[in-house]
Symmetry: C2
Subunit: 427 residues, 2 copies
Amino acid sequence: MISQQDCRQRDADDPLRTLRDLFDLPPGVIYLDGNSLGALPRAVPARVAHVVAQQWGQDLIKSWNSAGWFALPRRVGDRIAPLIGAGGGEVVATDTTSINLYKVLSAALNIAAQDAPGRRTIVSERSNFPTDLYIAEALCRERGCTLKLIEPHEVAASLTPDVAVLMLTHVNYRTGAMHDMAAVTAAAHAAGALVVWDLCHSAGAVPVDLSGAQADFAVGCGYKYLNGGPGAPAFVWVHPRHVARCWQPLAGWWGHAQPFAFTPDYQPAMDITRYQCGTQPIVSLSALDCALDVFTAADQLGGMAALRAKSLALTDLFIDAVEALCPGAFTLVTPREHARRGSQVCLTPTAQLPAGSAYAIVQALIARGVIGDFRAGDAQQPDILRFGFTPLYLSFDNVLGAAQALAEVVRTREYAQARFHHKQAVT
Amino acid sequence: MISQQDCRQRDADDPLRTLRDLFDLPPGVIYLDGNSLGALPRAVPARVAHVVAQQWGQDLIKSWNSAGWFALPRRVGDRIAPLIGAGGGEVVATDTTSINLYKVLSAALNIAAQDAPGRRTIVSERSNFPTDLYIAEALCRERGCTLKLIEPHEVAASLTPDVAVLMLTHVNYRTGAMHDMAAVTAAAHAAGALVVWDLCHSAGAVPVDLSGAQADFAVGCGYKYLNGGPGAPAFVWVHPRHVARCWQPLAGWWGHAQPFAFTPDYQPAMDITRYQCGTQPIVSLSALDCALDVFTAADQLGGMAALRAKSLALTDLFIDAVEALCPGAFTLVTPREHARRGSQVCLTPTAQLPAGSAYAIVQALIARGVIGDFRAGDAQQPDILRFGFTPLYLSFDNVLGAAQALAEVVRTREYAQARFHHKQAVT
């Protein structure tokens, strides 16, 4: 079992150790919830203050051009592109993940309707993040299509001749299980289906190669591992072979080929710009832009490959330490195999612990300054404790500290205290 | 003709004069573009700094509950509601105007399909803001419906038995002409059509009474007269008689009856919450929330009625002064009649001025610190100089100064200088 001293040595040897200084984290906190809301990059407050006081307050309307506001969704998209294996001019940062998913799912159904009119089913996983399923459900309802929900191991078998679109989240939000994007995409294509990837728990966390996988469509989140701030705009990518093939339904003026011609009829731009819709929240989008400077700094230290290596080392350490310090108390929900693991570790309490204790354990950890989160189970899946490991700002010492805190909570039965037993909404 | 001294006396007597102190405007600028991007309320920088540094940076994920982030769209909606004649719990501040329009137009078509299946036409004005037309065009294309574009005087005649929805902007973005909401809504209802109102140039600028007019749906903008900052979230209102009748298509998790139950199937909330979709840009939305404090202050001084009275006095003064100081140089595009005028004044150059001079005149005014904007004409409509008058922060002295600057630009022919002749994108 690794010691605190070993951890500190690993931190001293960590080529990425300087990145932590780019973040402002509260003292005494071990933050394992960057997969829900990324921490604040230190440079963001000054950038936001400048956008508000100078660009908006002093330069007013002319900032649409002089401060580059109008081009910001494309500029931020170009900065996200290398993190997901996309090319320049192929990504825009805009709207929300749910809305971007509606755009690409609609477009995918339209393309399927042209190429294979009999295919009218969308397949997804029952354990996908619910908003993805809701968007698909509403779209199917409107189009008279079918949404088929499957378990993760049923993907290959699900690709029947009626399937138009396979819609998957690359890294599952609950379990942290990761799909093999290239293999799944190839299988879907071989079966005649298009693939929409949700990268909410991937972008900035694990290497992604959309172009290499020949994927069709992707969306993702700006406020998790990209650290863009609460509700930061999301992103959308469409493979260049599809981008000009059809309109997306949210055909607002920012997607027009010439938005300032103010023509009464819509002429979509010929590139990813057509996936824009209306005027974007510039203050929030500027925070995301600034947050991406952290990845520019990481590029000098090995980029996503180095971040992935550290992420796996951190999650390996956490798994080992929990198993050593809390023997038999938890079952690992996240795959142990590196190739199938995202950047998080999820645990579910075993019968050693009282039924329903997962929520209270997470609360007791938060009270100790170790912030993870709880996800309730249902008939299909257990309650889980969810811990996200952001290699940008977490140290090996943090990880061991978190496992030790968890062991202490179990040992002292802190979770049995009444104050930890109110369920609250957490995102 | 009113003198500078008269103006200063009117300013001294103005019951709303203290509101200007709530804004941070650059020195020497007369800002007549608040109908495009509202000026910065003085309290916003500190609020935004607090949201970023404390709520995000220090309190992290728990701010979704403790700082009220999750409820913010509804809370801000409740603050906008009294400005547009809506009730509590009937408005959410979310997404963009274009996206909200897509939601309500889709819902209106769905309701029409239930109540009057033969009605499959959307009517709007050719001179409506283009994004409204684009959204309607794309939706009609997808649903096999028809978009019929008319001129403003053709509204009554357009309400034929095929019309499902009349979609109008209350105050036209180009001309400043205002519809009689109650009369038009009643006429549409009498003809069996639903009405969608776009309030982008109305909310915070003119009194609006959606409930009194028995309107069906409305959307509007947070960054014009509400001063929420560049790209601030928009708002959406649905009359309670319609709100639970059908799904809106962007059925994301924030519209779910129990978003944190994380169920795989969608169950829409029974109120306006179902018009929410995904996670909102909290930093931008917080700026809008803070900006609305200005209207709380205005409420103590007479509220929208007082703002409207001042707005009409400002636009009357501007029209009179331009006609006195630049005789014959411009034609008034905005209706002279109070009941038909929004909070802006638009002019088009007469034949006294060189053809195509409107853009250059606006640029020459900007060089003098008087910021309005230019909107290009086409076969149907002339080039215009557009001036927005925000009674919250404009004085009578400002207005006379703007008219004097315009007269000087005309007298000195500054607009003939080459540097004013590059057309640029302006929003």
